[in-house]
């Protein structure tokens, strides 16, 4: 693994002639703050960065915290049990446990905070951003700032970001943005794409599938999935993610139109209530879902999406 990373780093360095001589990473030796990323000088090309391998996790208490963070990331239903209300994993959306470029890698997210977010209209610390994942994507309870769970996740992300430059645009952050679809998005075309390309893993009714009692393929809708406040509930986010990363191992095998359509289909299903619910779907849509990318509050197949109790769940309580 170490060698592989080194090769990747070196190749990256060669690609950027300006930085070729600055490649200073020496395998498993401590990096002494030597940047592993290669700043582009002449052009404003995004910076290519490779996170360190697990073998570089330091020994001692900090290393233990990093490892705990990685465990939470892979198995929140075990390591952050009291804060989650479904069997999704952080690594379902942040692939390769937060390492994979273009799959919302944690090394790129880490250095992007603190940041202003229009979602809540304030500057969010990284920990506050993590709280949002628990509240919405995990349909959970929010761990307090400074709680062990958040410190562990932050430590793991810090570790992955070690050597990444601050204030630079990192290649691979988030999901690559798709251009607008050529045709208006279509729920019914999306249903066909879903049946052909997604149902084998995620199940015909979006319920996901397990192996030996452990969820392997996450539920995409219904009571076991993310709630209406989650980022993946945005058709745009879901389309960006899907085009780049789905089906697993076959990135960009769907057309962009298929990605838009299937994201529309998935995000037009029932799911747990938005925890910010304001007493009516209309008011909640107006305040929190006032965008064409949210299906919340729209009527699809005769169902007004977003009504409480459509997909009954108890936030922060794991379903059996």
């Amino acid at each position: 693994m170490t060698n592989r990373t080194k090769v990747a780093v070196i190749i990256g360095g060669i690609g950027l002639a300006a930085a070729a001589t600055a490649v200073g990473w020496h395998g498993s030796q401590p990096s002494l703050g030597m940047p592993r990323a290669h700043a582009a000088t002449a052009t404003q090309k995004p910076v290519v960065f490779t996170p360190p391998p697990d073998s570089e996790i330091p020994k001692g208490k900090f290393g233990d915290m990093i490892k705990l963070g990685e465990n939470v990331f892979r198995h929140p239903d075990i390591y952050a049990k009291s804060y989650v209300g479904n069997h999704l994993r952080c690594s379902n959306c942040h692939l390769s446990a937060g390492r994979l470029a273009d799959a919302a890698p944690m090394w790129a997210a880490y250095s992007a905070y603190p940041a202003y977010r229009s979602k809540n209209g304030k500057v969010n610390s990284f920990e506050e951003r993590l709280q949002g994942c628990f509240r919405f994507s995990m349909n959970g309870k929010v761990p307090k700032l400074g709680s062990k769970t958040l410190i562990a996740l932050e430590s793991y992300s810090y570790f992955l970001a070690k050597g990444a430059p601050l204030g630079e645009k990192l290649a691979g952050r988030g999901y690559p943005k798709l251009p607008k679809p050529a045709l208006p998005v279509s729920y019914s075309r999306g249903a066909v794409v879903y049946a052909q390309h997604c149902a084998a893993c995620h199940g015909a009714t979006g319920q996901g599938q397990s192996s030996g009692g452990k969820v392997v393929f996450p539920a995409l809708w219904g009571p076991q999935s993310f709630n209406w406040g989650a980022g993946m509930g945005s058709v745009k986010n879901a389309a960006d993610f899907t085009y780049q990363n789905m089906p697993l191992g076959m990135p960009k095998s769907l057309t962009q139109q298929q990605a838009w359509d299937v994201a529309t289909y998935i995000d037009s299903q029932v799911r747990p209530e938005d925890p910010r619910y304001l007493g009516s779907v209309a008011a909640t849509r107006k305040k929190f879902h006032h965008t064409k990318f949210s299906m919340y509050g729209k009527t699809v197949n005769g169902v007004l999406l977003g009504q409480p109790d459509q997909a009954k769940s108890t936030p922060g309580v794991l379903p059996k």
């Binding site: 990373t5 990747a8 465990n71 994979l100 273009d102 192996s211 452990k214 697993l248 076959m250």
Partner: protein
């Protein structure tokens, strides 16, 4: 490597057919036996040798020879493979002639029989003594659990589960499966073996793997005891 395996298999088949078919034929020729069990243990007429000659009476396979364990694989999976052998979508010089002699009902019966058997697994109690094998297993566990983020190769566990137990009809149970068999299959996918629509996933996956990666993941899954003792599932 492939030829060696074939010779290995043919020798085993010869020996197995003689000993097992002869000894089991009289003992188990019970007309009340469910069809699947009969085909599995004593073969079917005309001229279909027993599956157990190679895969063993318990369906445990002959792991070191690369003959896979069948016990505990799902019936739809086994049936699908037999159909692939019959139609040539999955190429295998040994299995194709047998599969061509079975009709669909017989295939279904034998698939259900093997699916019903208890699954023999490695105990997982003692780590292997062999240093090199231990190294391979460690390397394999990283590939299986993390994939290769640099080349966007998903973790094997993302489809087979962290304990390697497989998912429904999508991915087979490979915990404790023959390492030689897993490695052979990965090499075949890498060489663009078509097989079936789901094989597209394995072809995409195998393309990322070097020969030493293949050895490593094969050794890792062969070592798994099957229970959910994968990292993270225990604490």
């Amino acid at each position: 490597m492939k030829n060696q395996l074939k010779i290995r298999l043919l020798t085993l088949i010869g020996a197995g057919l003689l000993s097992l078919s002869l000894s089991l034929h009289s003992a188990l020729a019970n007309p009340d036996s469910p069809g699947g069990k009969k085909i599995a243990l004593i073969g079917a007429e005309p001229g279909i040798p027993s599956c157990s000659a190679c895969h063993g009476a318990t369906g445990a396979g002959q792991l070191s020879a690369g003959i896979p364990r069948l016990a505990g694989l799902t019936a739809p999976y086994i049936l699908a493979q037999l159909e692939h052998f019959r139609h040539g979508t999955r190429e295998n010089a040994l299995m194709t002639p047998f599969a061509k002699k079975l009709n669909t009902t017989q295939m279904q019966a034998v698939a259900e029989y093997y699916a019903s058997l208890p699954v023999p697994r490695p105990s997982g109690a003692n780590p292997p003594v062999d240093q090199q094998l231990r190294k391979q297993i460690t390397m394999g566990s990283s590939l299986a659990e993390n994939g290769l983020s640099q080349s966007a190769m998903p973790a094997c566990a993302a489809c087979h589960g962290e304990a390697g137990l497989g998912v429904g009809t999508f991915s087979p149970d490979i915990a404790g499966q023959s390492a030689a068999y897993i490695a052979d299959q990965l090499h075949e996918w890498k060489a663009n073996d078509r097989r079936d629509p789901l094989g597209a996933f394995m072809r995409a996956e195998a393309l990322h793997l070097s020969p030493s990666d293949i050895k490593a993941v094969a050794a890792y899954f062969a070592s798994l005891p099957g229970a959910s003792t994968a990292k993270g599932a225990t604490k």
